[in-house]
């Protein structure tokens, strides 16, 4: 039975696309046939993070409007054989996605793939609603910062009222909290909301914490999802997160502040 997972947050710039790229890559690495869909019509970016921007010919909207087949639009990942990407359209037409069109594509993908990851745009407009509408599970990406926590709370309310599962009165969308850009040192200093604070405020199960790391920017510069980087704590944290999504019991790590050496303390680097 295929699973549709939306990666959402309300707020922009918290790491939805980074997470979509790494989670889909993670599932594929673990041997599951996976497709990742970019729902950000007009602001396509998943292709850049996945490093396939030069191979985009057709897009999601082309498929919905019957200008291309799904097979033509899907881009095969160059590293993993069982991973495909469905890029967003760059059209400025906000109404390009229709619920019927999206449903048709998702139902078709359910036949062939185990995991369908939907990368939501920021905000609570049509695109974001479309991305979460058919979801079985939701990854709510949150930064330890007031506006992100508030927007995550808002998007949780929408998941619980506007998703297909909510409207049809089915079993609710399963929510997973993913905290990104976490800095244990700043939490210790009392300048950043802690994991416990965020969990208490949002009240959904915590599934992962991705520490702030320079390797995330390096990965997006190179167009290689950070989960491929075994030397990066962010990459390893994403690997753990995917394992937990697959039902494995993996403890959280990288949550202790980095120990500064005496010299570092002295010179403040």
């Amino acid at each position: 039975m295929a699973k549709v997972i939306v990666v959402t947050s309300g707020k922009g710039g918290v790491g939805k696309t980074t997470t979509s790229a790494s989670v889909s890559t993670g599932f594929a690495k673990r041997g599951h046939k996976t497709v990742v869909i970019d729902f950000d019509v007009g602001l396509r970016n998943l292709d850049l993070i996945m490093g396939c921007e030069r191979r985009v010919v057709y897009d999601f909207v082309n498929v919905i409007q019957g200008e291309a087949t799904l097979k033509q639009a899907l881009i095969k990942d160059k590293r993993l054989a069982n991973l495909e990407i469905l890029p967003a359209s760059q059209t400025r037409d906000k109404e390009a996605l229709t619920l019927e069109g999206v449903e048709k594509v998702i139902n078709q993908l359910r036949e062939t793939h185990e995991y369908i990851i939907c990368d939501s745009p920021a905000g609570i407009e049509t695109g974001a609603i479309m991305a979460l509408y058919f979801a079985d599970e939701a990854i709510v990406v949150t930064n330890p910062e007031v506006s992100s926590v508030r927007d995550s709370d808002r998007i949780l309310g929408i998941l619980q009222s506007k998703s297909k599962r909510a409207i049809a009165g089915q079993e609710p969308v399963k929510e997973h909290l993913l905290i990104t850009r976490y800095s244990p040192t700043r939490v210790q200093e009392g300048e950043m909301l802690s994991i416990e604070d965020i969990q208490e405020l949002l009240g959904i199960p915590l599934m992962g914490v991705i520490p702030e790391s320079t390797s995330v920017l390096q990965a997006s510069n190179a167009g290689v999802p950070v989960i491929h980087d075994d030397m990066s704590i962010s990459g390893l944290a994403y690997q753990d997160f995917v394992a937990r999504l697959l039902g494995e019991d993996v403890p959280l790590r990288f949550l202790d502040p980095e120990k500064k050496s005496f010299l570092k303390r002295l010179f403040g680097t």
Binding site: E145, V146, V149, R150, D153, R154, G157, V187, E189, G190, E191, M192, L193, S194, D197, L201
Partner: protein, 95 residues
């Protein structure tokens, strides 16, 4: 001593300020969300009626719905401005 106080002062950590602010705003937003869909519109309609007679803000009307066992109470709380300004407006309209 002032210098020592300054150096040893205990500032309220910004993370706990953030948490407190979020707790308050999320509770308020949840209350708005959990009420029946018609409450915001009801509030607007009431505002329109009251505004015919006095000038008030949307924030000065509180509509809450409480449910107790087998009945519900619709509580309406309107804060009216002081009397001098309330009598002034209808007079102006009469002219």
């Amino acid at each position: 001593m002032a210098l020592l106080d300054y150096l040893l002062r205990k500032r309220k950590k910004s993370a706990s300020v953030a948490k407190e602010r979020l707790q308050i705003i999320l509770a308020r937003e949840h209350a708005d969300r959990s009420g029946p869909d018609y409450l915001p519109n009801l509030k607007k309609d009431i505002l329109a009626v009251v505004e015919k007679y006095v000038t008030i803000d949307y924030d000065q009307i509180q509509v809450t719905l409480d449910s107790q066992e087998n009945y519900e109470i619709l509580e309406l709380n309107i804060t009216l401005p002081d009397t001098t300004s309330t009598t002034a407006k209808p007079q102006r309209q009469a002219i």
